[in-house]
Amino acid sequence: MSSATTEEVIDYSVTPPLVEGNPSLAKINDSIALPTERWPSKKYFAALSVTLTMLLIGVVALGYTLYYGIGMWGNNIPVGWAFDITNFVFWIGIGHAGTLISAILFLFRQRWRTGIARAAEAMTIFAVMCAGIFPLIHLGRPWYALFIIPVPNQHGLWVNWNSPLVWDVFAVSTYFTVSLMFWYIGLIPDLAMMRDRTTSKVKKMIYSILSLGWRHANRQWQHYEKVYVILAGLATPLVLSVHSIVSFDFAVSILPGWHTTIFPPYFVAGAIFSGFGMVLTVLIIIRKVFNLEYIITKDHLDKMAKVTLLTSMMVAYAYLMEPFIAWYSGSPFDWYTVVARATGHYAIGFWVMIACNVLIPQLLWSKKVRRNVAVLFVISLLINVGMWLERYIIIVTSLYRDFLPSSWHIYTPTIFDFGILIGVFGLFFTLVLLFSRTLPVVSMSELKGVTEGAHPHHNFGAGHE
């Protein structure tokens, strides 16, 4: 403790208040609704213009791809999966932290999630939307995507139920649906509050429609709370299943470097790791831009950094296990892939990935680092880079040296690959910015429930009854 400066001294034996300064209920309404009611600042428009520019770059690159076909990309046999599937796995993974925060931490009665859950859930939805683009455009002729949906068609054929790619469609669309409902259900009471405080007629109409006429009545809350728990209970195994199924896309094949049983847990841990990296990035931006430092406190960042550290170590364990199993199995092909990864054409990517995902997160052991927002922001960005590279390395290095040396091929991304990559980041952050401007970024009803004195006899228990 002595090494820390006075304002940084934290007594971990006492749970810090979840909301700093214990604002009144009315103040919560005012401050969270503020960004949606005020004409946004110049900072906001500056950020929006950057993200929209990125989005535009992506739209142009995508337009070329759709018109001329995916020959515009660097993909070629045997590297048939590259940036597209890397992006897909990356964005699905980003989404997972949102569900983890909103559902799993809810079930574990971690009340500190309140300040960050809404934004994290929104992030999940936007990330899954970004992810969904990639399998579609990867088809080359996206208008044939319907073929993967089991509906009667003129060929009389059904889908291949044994294929992980079909499971993927089911898993990702279920994930999107459930996350969206979870988010929307959480939004209803807040939308009703917005409806009751707005003075603009148009906004009132929109909020009335969206809040479905919620009345804050206890006979509504009674059922509502149960449903929230049920949805959290369903979303928790769902999030684990989604990335497991995504990992089956690889693990079920026979390619060295993909064909391993460690993939499902490894992918899930990696997803949560990268997701927490992204949540940190997004929340640090939001709390700064909208002055929500007293709601998204340093304690929140501290706790998220701890989860990040934990998942980083799980990922590191998987990084160790992969070469070990390759060596232990005695399969020369597996071992060759391991060596090709670490020393081959893509070795730089591999070592940057190790640095970003394993070495740099070790800094988070220090409390000082965890509570230093600027450093944390940089680390979170590096984690994003590292985890993107992880998927890239898994996909490309396994494919570029396949069983048949005559078909070996070095993959080089083209400007269109990068354009789409930039564009999808633009899309994500544009959506985040629009969200934080139009909807309450923190759940007001939940936040009210965790303020001091919100319940008779200061009876804090996360359950209602």
């Binding site: 059904w158 044994n162 259900i185 804050h216 206890n218 949805l231 299943s241």
Partner: protein
């Protein structure tokens, strides 16, 4: 316009403690049509209001399980019944592969029906016409106050007494909430020219876009690129081959599947064929059955069911002879095979195209059986 009606009395309280105590008192008085209001769920108010546990979890359970069951039935029907397809050497019904999907469908059905049940069945939403909407009461509750509203429909409701009761409980204010039913005549709305115009516009726009999308858009690039591929279609012209045909003739000596030539070319040397061709089949019941089926199908129209020439076509065609003559009974099997394959004397046609080789031999066995049946003691019996 119908008249204002008193919907109920709504009291505002300033702390959660007070509203919980008030809810307990209201329930204790025996009121049933009332509700308490707060912008977040307050602990302990359910038991104060004596509410029963919600039954929504049953919806989740039933819907979730039926999701899994429906998925199994669907995968089974599609891949085992409707279009049986072997994939990766697995059985048609490869259930371990369906486990991930069963799980996903459990979650999907469970979650969607729980949410729909909550909103539509339990909460009766969407409903924006409730009398409490747009009241001062609702605004306060939604901000930082807590409220209880007793409806005038409650048998114990009495405007003056209930108001006093609330005040005794420490209410900050008590408002009367009025119901202003709006007279909506559906007929008028439907016949409103604006409404009709809107419907027409929507119909025209949507059918026009559908038409353009399906009949025009799909014919331009990139949607049409599947049709505009650089490949040689059958019957198309080729600049590559000297004969300018895109379609190439098969290599000389190519034999179509199932059309291997006979070991002895029957038409070349009929005498030898009749002598040396030997029936390769044994007269098993199955062979006899196939022979009977084929004889009845192909031969009986002319030769009759018993090969005696007494047939349905008698008199309309050169009458075929009875196959029970001595010479035919003594003739070798190869003769029959040859007649079926090549026809006979330009009157009986060839059946080589209709009847596969093995079945021709089965017919021969059947004719032999017919001959035996007609003449058990014929010359060939010796």
């Amino acid at each position: 316009m119908s008249e204002k009606r008193l919907y109920g009395l709504a009291a505002i309280f300033d702390t959660p403690e007070k509203v919980v105590a008030a809810a307990r008192a209201v329930a204790g008085r025996g009121f049933t049509k009332y509700d308490s209001y707060s912008s977040y769920p307050i602990h302990g108010i359910d038991s104060a209001m004596r509410l029963k546990r919600t039954r929504i979890p049953f919806v989740t359970l039933v819907a979730g399980l039926s999701g899994a069951v429906l998925l199994v039935l669907f995968t089974w029907w599609t891949n085992s019944v409707d279009f049986p397809l072997v994939i990766g050497g697995k059985p048609y019904f490869a259930w371990p592969d369906y486990v991930p999907l069963m799980f996903e469908m459990t979650v999907l059905f469970g979650a969607v029906s729980t949410v729909i049940a909550l909103l539509v069945v339990w909460l009766n939403l969407p409903r924006n016409s409730h009398p409490l909407h747009d009241t001062e009461f609702m605004k306060k509750v939604s901000k930082d106050r807590f409220g209880i509203c007793i409806e005038s429909d409650d048998p114990r409701f009495n405007e003056i007494e209930t108001r006093r009761f609330f005040e005794d409980l420490g209410a900050e204010s008590v408002d009367s909430i009025y119901d202003e039913p709006v007279d909506i005549s559906l007929r008028q709305k439907v016949l409103d020219p604006k409404f009709i115009a809107a419907i027409v516009v929507v119909a025209v726009v949507s059918s026009a876009t559908t038409y353009l999308a399906l009949n025009k858009m799909l014919l331009i690039r990139p949607w049409s690129s599947l049709n505009a591929q650089f490949k040689v279609n059958p019957e198309s012209r080729s600049t590559f081959y000297s004969d300018r045909f895109g379609m190439r003739p098969p290599v000389t000596g190519t034999v179509a599947r199932g059309h291997l030539p006979d070991p002895i070319t029957v038409s070349d040397n009929i005498a030898a064929a009749e002598k040396y061709l030997v029936n390769p089949l044994l007269p098993t019941p199955h062979v006899m059955q196939v022979g009977q089926r084929d004889f009845n199908t192909y031969c009986s129209p002319c030769h009759g069911y018993f090969a005696d020439g007494n047939s349905r076509l008698q008199g309309q065609f050169p009458s075929p002879p009875s196959l029970h003559t001595d010479s035919l009974r003594l003739a070798p099997d190869g003769l029959y095979y040859n007649v079926i394959t090549n026809g006979f004397q330009g009157v009986m046609p060839s059946y080589a195209r209709q009847i596969p080789r093995k079945e021709r031999w089965a017919i021969v066995w059947y004719i032999r059986a017919l001959q035996k049946a007609q003449n058990p003691n014929g010359p060939e019996a010796k």
